[in-house]
């Protein structure tokens, strides 16, 4: 894995903490490694690994019924696994915050990542999710904060797509495919 620490995952962790996020649920992605580690180390957060991303949509709906906030971390390929389950938050107006690390766009080496990488944003929009995008690392904190606020204050599903260019090709060099 990349040994070089990046600042944007720490920015996300800080915003999640400020926004009183309790449940951090995820299917692991190399791009989210540092954020997942930060959340694991934060006793105010409950981290839960899922078998598939749609579990997280349903789980965070249940957590909100019980009075807790959460965030779903996934890779762009995971967006496709969530589509029907996203009807639960859109129909019921559950707050639903999703942070998506993008593959299949900036210098991708694996052609199997390209279909969901190129289509995750439009598919989420068609599913009724408010889509935000981070193309520069310095925009991370304010973008995640904006998405969290529209999710929790306006009871909407909101996604933040974190560009592959932000994550950096380095993260994938040593990663298994």
């Amino acid at each position: 894995m990349n040994s070089e620490l990046q600042s944007w995952p720490d920015d996300i962790h800080r915003v999640l903490s400020q926004e009183r996020i309790r449940n951090v649920v995820y299917v692991p992605d190399a791009g989210h490694t540092q954020l997942i580690e930060r959340c694991h180390a934060d006793s105010s957060m409950r981290t839960i690994v899922l078998t598939t991303e749609e579990e997280g949509i349903a789980m965070l709906a249940g957590a909100w019924l019980g009075g807790e906030r959460g965030v779903l971390l996934m890779q762009s390929s995971g967006v496709g696994n969530c589509i029907n389950m996203i009807s639960v938050p859109t129909v019921c107006r559950f707050p639903m915050l999703m942070l998506v690390t993008m593959r299949g766009e900036w210098g991708e080496f694996n052609p199997w990542q390209i279909p969901m990488g190129q289509n995750a944003g439009p598919i989420l929009e068609r599913a009724g999710v408010l889509v935000h995008r981070i193309d520069r690392a310095e925009d991370t904190a304010e973008t995640v904060q904006a998405a969290a606020r529209i999710a929790f204050n306006s009871d909407r599903a909101a996604a933040v797509l974190i560009a592959q260019r932000v994550i950096g090709a380095k993260a994938f060099k040593a990663a298994p495919q």
């Binding site: 078998t51 709906a61 249940g62 019924l65 019980g66 807790e68 906030r69 639960v88």
Partner: protein, 198 residues
């Protein structure tokens, strides 16, 4: 070995769900779609029922989120065999989290009752309690008879789970009894009855 004739389902789903909820106490209930949902409504609509009219495959995970957020309340997820089969991975996720206050009860009629009565995998030997046990559930029950059902009822209030039970029920056409289907209303009344904020 059991005599195969004794393996024929005897219990009626509506009566079984009614028995589970006859003294619901402070139970929070999540139901999957279709006939299980109608059976829950028939047992009495309640603000602390959350009916999933869609999101097939997600019922037990809604239950997990609720159970973790409300550890002092017993949470019951009622689902059908078809819905449970669509989200089997969630059993592994729940077994890892081990919420003591979560009970999952599958109302297993071995059919997709609302879509033309096609047989599900459980009609062909797929053993849902066996899957739950293998996933790591500490409390697993197969219910076919009235005495077995009577033994299950207190367990869903005991918070010694996570508990998984499959109740084999006779395959009868769904009898429609429709509770509210406005998701925003169902969500807001649940949270108001529970007294939670943000």
């Amino acid at each position: 070995m059991r005599n195969p004739t004794t393996l024929k389902p005897l219990l009626n789903s509506r009566a079984a769900v009614g028995a589970l909820l006859v003294e619901r106490g402070d139970l929070l209930v999540v139901s999957s779609l279709s006939s299980t949902l109608y059976d829950l409504a028939a047992a009495g609509d309640n603000p602390l029922n959350f009916y999933l009219w869609g999101g097939m495959g997600g019922a037990i995970m809604v239950g997990l989120g609720l159970a973790l957020a409300q550890p002092s309340r017993p949470v019951l997820v009622l689902t059908g065999d078809g819905e449970m089969l669509m989200g089997l991975g969630g059993l592994a996720t729940i077994a890892v989290q081990r919420p003591k206050n979560l009970s999952i009860v599958v109302i297993d009629n071995e059919h997709y009752a609302e879509t033309g009565f096609q047989e599900s995998h459980t009609a062909h030997g797929c053993d849902l309690p066996g899957i739950a046990a293998s996933a790591g559930f500490p409390s697993v029950h197969s219910v076919r008879t009235e005495p077995e059902l009577a033994e299950l009822v207190p367990l869903i209030h005991r918070s010694a789970g996570p508990l998984f039970a499959a109740i084999k029920v006779t395959a009868t056409p769904p009898s429609f009894l429709l509770p509210p289907n406005d998701g925003v209303y169902l969500k807001n009344r649940f949270r108001a009855a529970l007294g939670v904020k943000s």
